[in-house]
């Protein structure tokens, strides 16, 4: 073992190892490189101390910064809520009808309303708000059971239909299977089907179902079947049939009526959120002024 020395030919130091007169040159790693390496280790140690790094028996041990991904999410949500704050107060600052008139407000309300709709309304009414035949009404057409003005829509969303909310929209169609004979129901069904057929305009009054209709149905559905939004009584003289088109479907509905219900959202959303939803639904094509 020779002591380290400087190699005269190359100018490098040797390691001090020697085998049969052959010495090994050493090219040490530069100091700066070693320093950086040690610094990265130091950073790792600091990181372990600051951030949650170790598992405990009941969960992870929080780091010195008390950072959690849940806390991060809450912070992000709070930041998003803060960013939306001015918009939400702007929506609340004007009457609901004017939210649509302001292009910027409208864009914000429709974009937010769409996200809210997909989370809360789409399960029944569909992602495209097309409803479901025989179950849930379409919100994109021009037919509204309880009103298609934006304020009607807001009211429906807030308190719902036929639920426990004391302000809920409510009405009941009697079970005519108990009160009318089978023949009368068939007659009135023929009459109801004819309401939306322009070809029957002349002969309709003479139909046997006309009297039955006048006595039992016209109070809610109107003398010519134009419906009443006050009671959520559907229009019968149009082409839209939620519970089915044609004589059989009408007989079924008169005999054993089906009526939709919708939950109240008053407890779940604040007023600004409901306004955004209402603006979105109103923008889908059927909104009335």
């Amino acid at each position: 073992m020779a002591s380290p020395e400087r190699d005269p030919v190359s100018g490098y130091r040797t390691t001090g190892h020697e085998w049969d007169g052959i010495k090994e040159l050493t090219t040490p790693i530069p100091h700066w490189w070693v320093s950086v390496f040690l610094a990265t280790i130091a950073v790792a140690v600091i990181y372990l101390y600051l951030m949650p790094s170790f598992a405990g028996t009941t969960g992870f041990l929080p780091g010195a910064l008390k950072w959690t991904s849940k806390g991060q999410l809450a912070e992000d949500q709070a930041a998003a809520a803060t960013a939306q704050g001015p918009w939400r107060s702007a929506i609340m600052a004007v009457p609901l009808e004017q939210v649509e008139a302001d292009p910027d407000l409208r864009r914000f309300a429709v974009a937010g309303g769409k996200a809210l709709f997909n989370q809360n309304c789409a399960p029944c009414h569909g992602v495209g708000a097309g409803g479901q035949q025989g179950q849930f009404p379409s919100l994109v057409d021009d037919d509204w059971l309880w009103g298609g003005k934006i304020d009607d829509i807001r009211q429906t969303i807030t308190h719902g239909i036929r639920n426990d909310d004391s302000d809920s929209r409510s009405s009941v169609m009697p079970t005519f299977g108990d009160n009318l004979s089978k023949g009368e129901i068939e007659q009135v069904a023929d009459y109801v089907v004819s309401l939306s057929d322009p070809a029957a305009d002349a002969t309709r009054a003479a139909m046997p179902g006309a009297a039955v209709f006048r006595a039992n149905c016209a109070a809610c559905h109107g003398p010519s079947g134009e419906g009443s939004r006050e009671f959520g009584a559907p229009r019968l003289n149009d082409a839209i049939w939620l519970y089915g088109r044609g004589r059989d479907a009408v007989i079924r509905q008169v005999t054993q009526p089906r009526m939709g219900m919708m939950p109240s959202f008053a407890a779940r959303f604040d007023e600004a959120t409901i306004r955004m939803l209402a603006t979105y639904v109103h923008s889908l094509g059927g909104g009335e002024r």
């Binding site: 495209g128 149009d238 094509g285």
Partner: protein, 469 residues
């Protein structure tokens, strides 16, 4: 590579600043360098009127708007293929220049070279002011370095923000954090690369010298020491060797020399510190300053210039005092030139066919159609538009292939929509056909979008209309 590479181990010493030199290549280098630096600082000041609410700067990277403005053109991120074409053109141009005459780019136009040259000049100026080797020179050097770096940083930031407002914003402290960061970053990198690292960037960091040898051939003009003429080197008092001075008759047996008197001027003026007499090497950036230095010496010795000159390897086989013509047109240069032309053609095609209006028409498939209470059938479509035309306020929509169709957009009954301030639009198109129209199943339609004020057709989009089956 040089066998006596001085940089080894920790003991490597810093070369002194290269000596100044006068001559043809020095003049070219100065003019090109000043021109490029001037261009770098001047371009942001060019103005171009794009109308109200639009930046008036001719060339500008609008980062918040995600676009690049170049006079009347506007580029969006999706135009990236054009940048790719530009890069391919740059690479092919570099290959072509290298095949013809070596590292012209490195020697004269590379920003690293230009700025390094400037900083060398500043160092020499600092030495002149304070006296070489004095402590004061170091201070003045640092003042120059930092000042120039800061100027470079501000010049760079001027490409990203309105340059006319930049000085005021900086002085009053109203500049955005991004601007300040860009300036500080470029100041730091300029100080580091042009002030501190200099030619070491070319020698150790830049990949280009590593593969330039693959592009050179025997016909490329590169800085060449005419060894046949210069060797053996010797003191001036020795007689010239007989090949160079046929008339003289030196004493038999007396030592003779070639044209090189070993004055080392070529080495002293080299910005990268190579000794060109050792032959073409990776460190040589082909700037030709050693040619100027050597020609100067040859003139003093009353010998013909060109001991070091731009010359080809092929010419070394038949030595001549006056350089024979080099073969510029040869398969390699033709190939690269043709490549450049092809890419220029493709770029021109890409530029001329760039889409200035983008319109998407998406049929709403949930529900596929809407039955209305009067028996008519409605289809809904989402319209998304973005444009980069000088002016487009409103767009009119019409439909073909659907007789009796009524169009609505949003809650408006006229078939037109306005374009937002940010030159985009997002609206709902509703097409309704009256009861009795035969629209069972799918029906092909064409929707036409045109500028509402001029009537110019912007786009025709094929789509479809669904009815109950």
């Amino acid at each position: 590579m040089s066998a006596a590479a001085p940089a080894r181990g920790r003991a490597a010493r810093r070369r002194p600043v290269p000596l100044p030199v006068k001559g043809r290549y020095r003049r070219i280098k100065t003019l090109v360098g000043l021109g490029l630096i001037g261009l770098f600082f001047a371009v942001p000041w060019l103005r171009f009127d794009r109308g109200l609410d639009q930046p008036g700067q001719a060339v500008m990277f609008d980062v918040p708007g995600r676009r690049l403005l170049v006079f009347g053109l506007e580029f969006w991120p999706q135009d990236l293929p054009l940048v790719l074409g530009l890069m391919i053109l740059g690479a092919l141009g570099l290959f072509l220049a290298t095949a013809i005459s070596g590292r012209l780019w490195c020697g004269f136009t590379c920003p690293q070279t230009v700025w390094t040259d400037l900083f060398f000049a500043m160092d020499r100026l600092a030495d002149r002011i304070a006296g070489k080797g004095r402590g004061g020179a170091k201070v003045i050097r640092q003042v120059f370095w930092t000042g120039l770096s800061l100027l470079t940083g501000i010049g760079f930031a001027a490409y990203f923000t309105d340059v006319t407002a930049l000085p005021g914003a900086l002085l009053s402290g109203r500049a955005s954090a991004g601007t300040v960061f860009a300036i500080l970053l470029l100041t730091a990198t300029t100080w580091l690369l042009a002030g501190f690292a200099r030619e070491r960037v070319c020698l150790h960091m830049c990949p280009w010298p590593r593969f330039q040898a693959a592009l050179l051939d025997a016909d490329s003009l590169v800085v060449t020491y005419q060894a046949w003429r210069g060797e053996p080197r010797g003191k001036k008092r020795l007689a010239l060797k007989p090949e160079l001075a046929p008339d003289s008759s030196p004493a038999p047996g007396a030592a003779t020399r070639g044209d090189c008197v070993d004055c080392e001027r070529c080495f002293a003026v080299c910005p990268t510190g190579v000794d060109i007499r050792e032959g073409l090497q990776m460190g040589c950036i082909g700037c030709g300053l050693c040619i100027d230095a050597c020609d100067d010496v040859m003139a003093k010795l009353e010998r013909p210039a060109g001991l070091i000159r731009f010359d080809s390897e092929a010419n070394q086989a038949s030595p001549a005092l006056v350089r024979p013509k080099a073969r510029v047109i040869r398969p390699k240069t033709i190939f690269f030139a043709a490549g450049c032309l092809v890419v220029v053609g493709l770029l021109g095609f890409g530029l001329s066919t760039i889409q200035r209006v983008t319109i998407d028409l998406t049929p709403q498939r949930n529900p596929p159609f809407v039955a209305l209470s009067d028996g008519s059938i409605r289809n809904d479509y989402q319209i998304r538009l973005s444009h980069r035309l000088p002016a487009l306020a409103a767009v009119a929509v019409s439909v073909e292939g659907l007789p009796g169709a009524k169009l609505r957009i949003g809650d408006r009954d006229d078939a037109r929509f306005t374009v937002n301030q940010d030159r985009s639009a997002d609206d709902r198109l509703m097409i309704t056909v009256p009861r009795g129209t035969p629209v069972e199943g799918r029906r092909e339609i064409t929707v036409q979008f045109s500028d509402a004020s001029t009537g110019r057709v912007l786009r025709r989009i094929d789509s479809y209309f669904w009815g109950p089956e």
